[in-house]
């Protein structure tokens, strides 16, 4: 029935703007669809033009194919680029309707029952009032002048800020997936921290009302004005299911003079089953610009989900004395594949960057660290330190390190180290002797291996992430 309705709408060019609640835009990518998205979101004309320009560019771009994990060709005309939020009718009504395996994982992570429901879009009863939690939360922020809302809302309420910064770090002429996102992005988060304000709490998409179903083309824009500080959390440790296979989000961070942004991600999208069927393609573009002097951007990521993870959260260190940091744990198991790392582009004088990357591959998975450190001619007295360690479990998986190091400044230093090893029998033996079973022992050792990165996460997150590390590697030993 539904399909038929959509079929009908395809023939009628402008018809699909009515009754949007229950319809998707027709399949395919063309100017009409982009106009449709823009229209539905009541966007100003400049943004529509901006989207269309990105689309023009997208048409001439070629899909990159240099990455290590290959995937079957995506037919971009066979995707829905807009779908209205689902009504509760289509969603599961009870926790009993869910996959028992998923519930088991929730249990291990210690996620409360109400939250489990919320994560799966089950209507929550009145006792658990997530809205009121969020409201008190919002009041505190408004008091400080912090803007934290969806990007659609920001486009309506703060068009000047959006217009000024949107696309200033990831321009519409960027690479294939970023440009696709610019053309068709549907929603995402917007954060603005006014000058000299220290955001009193960790901001998280989790607390934003209507944060669910932001779709596969998410756009996040965070601006930290002079002297401000913000810590932002993306995702959560609970496994996330989504029927969209391709996720091409764009995240832009801008730090002005003396500002600091800390961006933490825990990514646990559906990785596909044991035989590597299904699973999310996570092709995200994340880039931070240290625009002002003494600014700092720090990325921390724990990547355990997705069938394919392909992302390089980067820092452009433009302001003098600016600092870029990247802490990463990537875990692949079964048939998962990851090609991740960072780019540190030193443009300003006296800029510093630090990269700590820990990769763990198990099962039949494949993991690549790919990174770039580029110190340009004018970036005098800059330093970089990179450490990337890999841990292999079994001989059916792969771990690779591909760093690109470019030093064009004689006063600057770059140091890079990488090691690959396995969990030693001695360590395992020692833990088992003390009464841990093999899986617990592996979990403990891996947590130790990742400690440097886990320490960077906000407190509550770190505890959950630690458990997640153990769970992700289940069934990989023995």
């Amino acid at each position: 029935m539904r399909d038929k309705q959509i079929e009908d709408l395809k023939d009628y060019k402008y018809g699909f703007s009515t009754d949007i609640e229950s319809f998707k835009a027709p399949k395919g990518l063309n100017e009409e669809v982009i106009r449709f998205i823009s229209n539905i979101k009541k966007e100003p004309n400049w943004l529509l033009q901006w989207r269309l320009k990105a689309f023009e560019r997208f048409k001439v771009l070629k899909e990159p194919d240099w990455q290590k994990p290959k995937y079957p060709k995506i037919d971009y005309q066979d995707l829905y680029y807009y779908s209205a939020p689902k009504s509760f009718k289509e969603k599961p009504k009870n926790l009993e309707d869910l996959d028992p395996k998923l519930l088991e994982t929730y249990k291990k992570l210690g996620i409360p029952l109400q939250e489990q429901k919320r994560l799966n879009g089950i209507a929550v009863d009145a006792v658990f009032d997530s809205v009121s939690v969020a409201t008190t939360f919002k009041d505190t922020l408004t008091e400080k002048g912090i803007i934290f809302c969806s990007i659609s809302e920001a486009i309506q309420k703060h068009p000047d800020l959006v217009k000024k910064y949107l696309g200033s770090v990831i321009p519409i002429t960027d690479h294939f997936f970023a440009t696709l996102n610019s053309a068709v992005f549907t929603d995402g988060s917007f954060v603005y921290i006014p000058p000299n304000v220290k955001c009193p709490m960790e901001l998280s998409t989790y607390f934003r009302i209507n944060a669910s179903d932001t779709g596969q083309f998410e756009r996040t824009l965070i601006i930290a004005d002079k002297g401000s500080y913000v810590s932002y959390l993306e995702g959560c440790t609970a496994p996330m299911r989504d029927e969209n296979q391709l996720h091409a989000a764009n995240v832009e961070l801008i730090a002005l003079d003396d500002a600091e942004i800390k961006y933490s991600t825990v990514q646990n999208w559906y990785p596909g089953d044991k035989d590597g069927k299904g699973g999310i393609y996570n092709f995200v573009t994340k880039r931070g610009l240290c625009k002002g002097k003494n600014s700092k951007i720090s990325w921390t990521q724990v990547e355990t989900g997705s069938a394919i993870t392909w992302k390089y959260p980067s820092c452009i260190l433009k302001g003098d004395n600016s600092i870029g940091e990247f802490y990463s744990i990537a875990i692949t198991n079964n048939h998962q594949k990851a090609d991740t790392g960072t780019k540190m582009i030193h443009l300003g004088k006296n800029t510093k960057s630090k990269i700590i990357s820990k990769g763990i591959s198990a099962g039949k998975s494949d993991m690549t660290y790919r990174g770039l450190v580029d110190i340009s001619k004018n970036a005098s007295y800059s330093t970089n330190y990179t450490q990337c360690d890999s841990l292999l479990m079994g001989n059916k998986c792969g771990a690779h390190t591909v760093p690109y190091i470019k030093n064009k400044n004689s006063n600057s230093n770059i140091a890079h180290e990488a090691t690959t090893s396995k969990i030693s029998e001695d360590q395992l033996h020692y833990c088992q002797q003390r009464g841990l079973n093999q899986e617990e022992a592996v979990g403990l050792i891996v947590n130790g291996f990742c400690k440097e990165v886990l320490q960077q996460l906000p407190m509550e997150f770190a505890v959950e992430a630690q458990k997640l590390v153990g769970i992700s590697l289940e069934g990989s030993v023995g």
Partner: protein
Amino acid sequence: MEQKLKTDFDKFISTSNFSNQEIKLKKKALDNFLKNGFPSRKLENWKFSDINQIIKKNIGELTFYNDYKIENEINDDIFIKEIEHNKIVIVNGKVQQLNFEYEESDKINITILDILNQNLNQDNSLISLNNSFSNRIHNILVKKNYSLKKPLIIYQITNEKMSNTNINFQLNFDLEESSSIKIINFSDDNSEKNFINDLFNFNLDKNAILKNYKIDKKNNTNIKYDYSSIIQKENSISETFIFSSGSDYVKNEVNCNLEGKYSSAFINGIHLLSKNKHHEIRTKTNHLYENTKSYQLIKSVIDDSSKSVYQGKIYVDSKAQKTDGYQLSKAILLNEQAEFNAKPELEIYADDVKCSHGSASGSLDEDSIFYLMSRGLDQKTAKELLINGFLLDVVEKITDEEIKKLIKNMIGLN
């Protein structure tokens, strides 16, 4: 360029006496090159050194025809006097002299390689170019259990007759079980603006030992590509040392296949660059069997607006458990305009391995200079002392004492 290649190829075939079968294969290699052309930065391996652009910019139009009939005179002055040695003298890509006077004649077998045995299906277009235009290829076979008494020095000479020409050369070595050879590959370029394309194949059987030292120190404006392929069986050892300094543009590629257990490969290199030279070393060690070992140490001193590139890859097959791989590259940038690029890469499919790499680049350590100056040295001497020490580290890795001494003298490090 395509037309030029074809006419030069026809001219080359008509003036030499290859069999029909050989011509067919050479033609095939040429087609392969025509299809791909000179490698450009679009290829990952050539990302940092776009040879297509470099040739265009520095040479312009190349001549591919090389007359192998011309006999060249060899001036005895160029021979190294310090040590007694066997020699192979190559002038402009043609073998002029093969002299193994210090060895037992029945232990070394020199033949012309059958072109049919060559691997002509190449991804590397420069090897295709080499296959199509090189002269007949000599194969030097060292028999079982024989160790050469004296080192072999390969003199690679170009004379002033050559300019704007592509010179292709190939040489093969087969080391039978438990044999060993020490080779010094010494470049003596008196020509300007040529593109020199060399290919060396080494096949090491069980327990064989190869020591190969490459020296390029005479200043010249040639563009060079040097590819060494080393295939190693059980328990064999290869040691490669590269001193890369003289030519304007050089790319040294060493590809090592460790196919037998306990085989090991050592590759050490120095880049000593000034003016606007652009040198690259690319190493690829493939660990294909368990219990193999590889070690690479590359150091660069980069002055003026020169550019040094190191690309190193350690590949570990899922079969190759207990691999030990180590790689270190270090660079000192002496000038604002100098540039160092590195891509140290690990590709690992086995879990019980010990692999690591490190890369560091930066300026000379101010504290060390201060220390030396406070002991009474002037700044220039202090810097020289530090650079000498930095590079000596690599030279000290040479395992043959006699050759180590010779090389130290040759490149002025003491």
